[in-house]
């Protein structure tokens, strides 16, 4: 991979993981109780 790809990669993963984990936590927290 080129240097630019590696830079995007390093930036993308933390952002993606924060966004996805936030959405997941919200979905779990707001899940209808059994």
């Amino acid at each position: 991979m080129r240097r630019a790809h590696r830079s995007v990669h390093r930036l993308l993963w933390p952002l993606l993981s924060v966004a996805v984990l936030f959405a997941f936590a919200m979905a779990l927290y707001l899940r209808a109780p059994s």
């Binding site: 991979m1 080129r2 240097r3 630019a4 790809h5 590696r6 995007v8 990669h9 390093r10 993308l12 993963w13 933390p14 993606l16 993981s17 966004a19 996805v20 984990l21 959405a23 997941f24 919200m26 979905a27 779990l28 707001l30 899940r31 209808a32 059994s34």
Partner: protein, 349 residues
Amino acid sequence: MSVGFRAVQWNRDKIVYDGILIAAVVIYIAGYAAIHFPLEQPKKLPDAIDIWIRAFGSCTFIMLTVILSIGPLARLNPRFLPLLYNRRHFGVLTFLVAATHFWFLLDWYLVQHNLINLVTELTKWQDYTTFMDFPFKTIGLAALLILFLMAATSHDFWLSFLTPPIWKALHMGVYVAYGLVVVHVALGAMQDDEGIVIPLMLVVCFGTVTVLHVLAGWREWTGDRGLAADDGWLKVGPPGALPDKGARIIAARGGERIAVFRDGSEIGALTNLCAHQNGPIGEGRIIDGCVTCPWHGYQYRLADGCAPPPFTEKLATYRVRLNRGMVEVHPRPLPPGTPAAIQIPTDAL
């Protein structure tokens, strides 16, 4: 290697790789059905279709998790490189499994003669302004569209047509697709199933992939910091420090990586980017007198960076010199295919 553009080049390794993949998918789907049909005993056709929807959906998620783990695993440990070899077929198969998941979803509506309900669900615009009622099927469709684009452009024709940097950037869309799939499951299946299995699966899979990517990214970052050029030349080290038939990878500050190979008493420097998919040439070895990319086996001559005839790929080379017992490389690349390797006296080793 290729002569211009060639159709799919099958070999035994690819056939074995694909055979294992297909067998694993069939075993997973059959196993899922074998467990869930007796357990749930569906009485109506839509209930039976629902099991197939979940079987193919969960299979897609697991396949995406494995695909996304292969890259960083191969960066962290070369023993995983064989998994990288035919990863594109893995990706295409994942799209087909995801498309089957979507087909069963359509079928679920069709057998009840209410496909219009799906359209209504997807066009209920006020739901798009909420979080918990956000149409999770739209998120799944967006992920499926990305997987389709990647599968459709996975062939070497598109790699050649788009050029490796653009092709690679396009295929990084798989990260977004994976994130969308996690949210699709969190807002969909996880809301219907009150158990702990789905949340646990999401956390373990997504967490593992994230940790692997962050670790590999950290390691790559240390390799990108680069060396300071001393009087315009980068110091590599004494010739004996270069592994025979192998390479040491260096980088100038702010520049691309350079692979400095030694083949006996011949030392040459090539760009670390393979002409095929920008694979890390410097992590490969010299096989049959040619520098060989560890990803897909593309080969180049050390002397001038050209693929041996009849192949036509060329890599950029770099000037090399032996200065006071140290191998040094000039960081400015030469035009691809320029002879630049040097012979060093055997007593310098």
